[in-house]
């Protein structure tokens, strides 16, 4: 009888056959090729226009700045969680909660009155408070599944994903109900936030807001410092790699799970608040219908590509935001070609899925040797 088996052995020696950038490139290229094939199979788009759009996207780098900053923030949020093996696929919902928090504070809270007085210092305080409230609500939205994971041992992934939809519903309820605007030309949405509550546009670079750039830099530095220089960071990393060891060392892993969840959700909520104050200025109805740009999901890819290495967050955010803008441009150029009812979102999902899978498997192939053994 012939017995066929795969033997997988860990490489103990440091033999860096393929570097991480090479693996990154291979998985991204494969992701692109497969999603192109999917577009081709659906609507029969020729390669020339696909790659022409790709080139145009890369050529207009200033358009990449805005997705880059938000994907960096959300990528950092998810990355922290991944370090602690908390699979935060709920950043999308936490991002929405951040928007809700900021909206409440600048429009409906007792503090909102100070914005009308025109005092710049107090406006700055209100904006800061709005961003912090957004962060706290994001943290709350992430701590709920974290609590269930830590204390009830319910897997966090389905809970987080379902809570994204609950967040959409909550936002729609507020937008269509208590927060429904008066000056909306008949649309269901909230009113615009007051001028004084908006973030500062950088002169000459209209797409940039000072506060968002500062926040992204601060979050990156903060995440790096916490993970690499503090005991908490070490505990998070041990939780991610060997929770049993964490317990043996006398730490309560449940507290660490809650901390990771809160930290991750806080950053995602912060991003949502900044988004609302800096770019969107109002909440639309049917927010789950792509109006968030699905950044919370796309950022999973950013975190994944920089897996357990904070320094890789920036390059992966660059790559993913380029691809994201490319996908957006493709959607625009496909719009005439796609029959009604076809949304181009599917192609970016294929791209995310293939890239994740290839990257994961390629890393295993790097760290392990896989041999096919045939015995007679």
């Amino acid at each position: 009888m012939v017995r066929v088996s795969l033997v997988v052995t860990k490489r103990y020696r440091e033999r860096m056959i393929t570097s991480t950038p090479a693996i990154l490139t291979v998985s991204l290229v494969l992701g692109l090729v497969v999603s192109y094939l999917a577009i081709w199979a659906t609507v029969g788009l020729e390669p020339a226009s696909f790659f022409a759009t790709f080139y145009q996207t890369l050529a207009s780098y200033s358009g990449l700045l805005e997705p880059f900053l938000f994907l960096t923030l959300l990528g950092a949020a998810i990355s922290v969680a991944f370090y602690g093996s908390y699979w935060n696929v709920g950043a999308e919902g936490q991002y929405v909660l951040g928007m809700l928090g900021a909206m409440y504070l600048v429009m409906f809270s007792p503090l909102s009155g100070t914005l009308l007085e025109g005092d710049r210092a107090s406006a700055a305080v209100v904006k800061l408070a709005a961003v912090i409230l957004g962060g706290l609500l994001g943290a709350l939205w992430s701590v709920i599944p974290g609590f269930f994971k830590a204390f009830v041992r319910v897997n966090e992934v389905p809970v987080l994903l379902l809570m994204n939809y609950v967040a959409y519903c909550l936002s729609d309820y507020l937008t269509g109900g208590p927060w429904k605007g008066r000056y909306t030309y008949g649309y269901i949405r909230t009113d615009m936030i007051p001028e004084a509550a908006r973030l500062t546009v950088v002169p000459g670079l209209e797409i940039l807001r000072y506060e968002v750039a500062v926040a992204a830099a601060a979050v990156l530095a903060g995440v790096y410092l916490v993970l690499e220089r503090t005991r908490l960071g070490l505990r998070i990393k041990v939780l991610g790699t060997n929770p049993v060891a964490l317990r043996s060392l006398g730490y309560d892993d449940r507290t660490v799970i809650l901390t990771v969840a809160a930290l991750s959700g806080f950053i995602a909520g912060l991003a949502g608040a900044l988004r609302l104050l800096g770019y969107d200025y109002r909440l639309p109805y049917n927010i789950g219908d792509g109006k968030t740009g699905f950044y919370g999901y796309t950022a999973i890819l950013v975190a994944w590509l920089s897996f357990r290495d904070v320094r890789l967050l920036v390059p992966s955010a660059v790559i993913v935001s380029a691809l994201n803008s490319f996908g957006y441009r493709m959607q625009l150029s496909l719009k005439g070609l796609l029959p009604p009812g076809v949304s181009a979102h599917a192609f970016s999902q294929i791209f995310i899925g293939i890239t994740l899978a290839v990257y994961t498997i390629a890393r295993v192939a790097r760290d392990h040797s896989v041999r096919l053994v045939i015995e007679r």
Binding site: F148, F151, P158, L161, L162, Y173, G176, Q349, I354, A357
Partner: protein, 308 residues
């Protein structure tokens, strides 16, 4: 009263059958120790595949019920193969099951949209009609019956047959199982086929019976609802079928809450909140017997380099 009951039995049937089958499939997959994070993507994919197969065969066979039944079977077979690829990949390679599961989820979402659109553009928009399964009186009764039979068969397989013992052993401790001569990869491959066929059947019935049509994104989240039911039924087929009954009842009746003055967003969110709540409540019950406990190696990478 009698009419109300009949109406209820009729509208409950498609929901009950879909969620019970998919949840039982998920329970089987997780019993062998593979974390089933792929379920939502593969559920979406199966609901799209079923549509495309159905329009394809309706065009080839000039419509009719045989085309619908053939597409049910083929969807179950295709998704079974994909599931076995998923369980095998997460066994032979020491990768994070979470990572592979999420990749499959995304690929399932995207591929589902592509497959469904291909069917819609090639046949659906050209006026090919599909004979969707009706909600006739006889069909509801036979659907309940065959679902219960299927669940019973899965229960017998898992708890009374040697293969079931192997599946559960692999889920508890794959290393030990492989030391006593059980092929971990082979067992998980078979489990993937079985569980995948059930999930695929659920997804296919979702399109061909519950909805009776297809649009992009259809089935999204319903895989997670099935996942929640399988957890709430402690991954034990008869219990899963029971929990599914309560859950589907709630799910079918919830939209009617709107009449009581509840905002539409609340009734949209209700199934998601209910799913989370039942997962949490059921998982917090302590002191379960070994038969109902979570598989010990669920979600852990199986790495057998020592056995070279």
């Amino acid at each position: 009263m009698r009419e109300l009951l009949e109406w209820f039995v009729q509208i409950l049937a498609p929901a009950y059958v879909v969620y019970t089958l998919a949840a039982t499939g998920s329970a089987v997959v997780e019993r062998c120790g593979v974390l089933n994070l792929a379920i939502d993507g593969l559920f979406v994919l199966s609901s799209s595949l079923a549509y495309t197969y159905a329009v394809l065969f309706s065009a080839l066979l000039q419509g009719g019920a045989p085309a619908t039944w053939l597409s049910l079977l083929l969807t179950a077979a295709t998704v079974a193969l994909l599931y076995s690829l998923y369980t095998t990949l997460s066994t032979v390679l020491p990768v994070s099951q979470g990572a592979i599961g999420l990749s499959f989820m995304f690929i399932g979402y995207g591929l589902g949209a592509v497959v469904g659109n291909i069917g819609r553009i090639a046949f659906g928009l050209r006026g090919v009609r599909v004979a969707y399964l009706g909600a006739g009186h006889g069909s509801a009764a036979s659907a309940y019956l065959s679902t219960i039979l299927a669940v019973t068969a899965v229960y017998l397989l898992l708890y009374k047959l040697k293969l079931g013992v192997m599946i559960r052993a692999v889920g508890e401790d794959p290393r030990l199982a492989s030391q006593v001569g059980v092929s971990v990869t082979g067992t998980r491959l078979l489990t993937g086929l079985l569980g995948g066929a059930l999930v695929g059947l659920g997804g296919a019935l979702f399109t061909l019976w519950r909805v009776g049509g297809w649009s992009q994104g259809q089935g999204l989240n319903h895989g997670w609802l099935a996942y929640a039911i399988s957890i709430a039924g402690w991954r034990h087929p008869p219990l899963v079928a029971l929990v599914s009954l309560f859950f589907s009842t709630a799910y079918v009746l919830l939209p009617h809450l709107q009449r009581l003055g509840l905002p539409i967003e609340a009734s949209t969110a209700a199934p998601y909140v209910t799913s989370i709540a039942i997962m949490v409540v059921v998982s917090s019950i302590r002191g379960r017997s070994r038969l109902l406990a979570d598989p010990k190696s669920l979600g852990r990478a199986f790495f057998r380099e020592e056995q070279v």
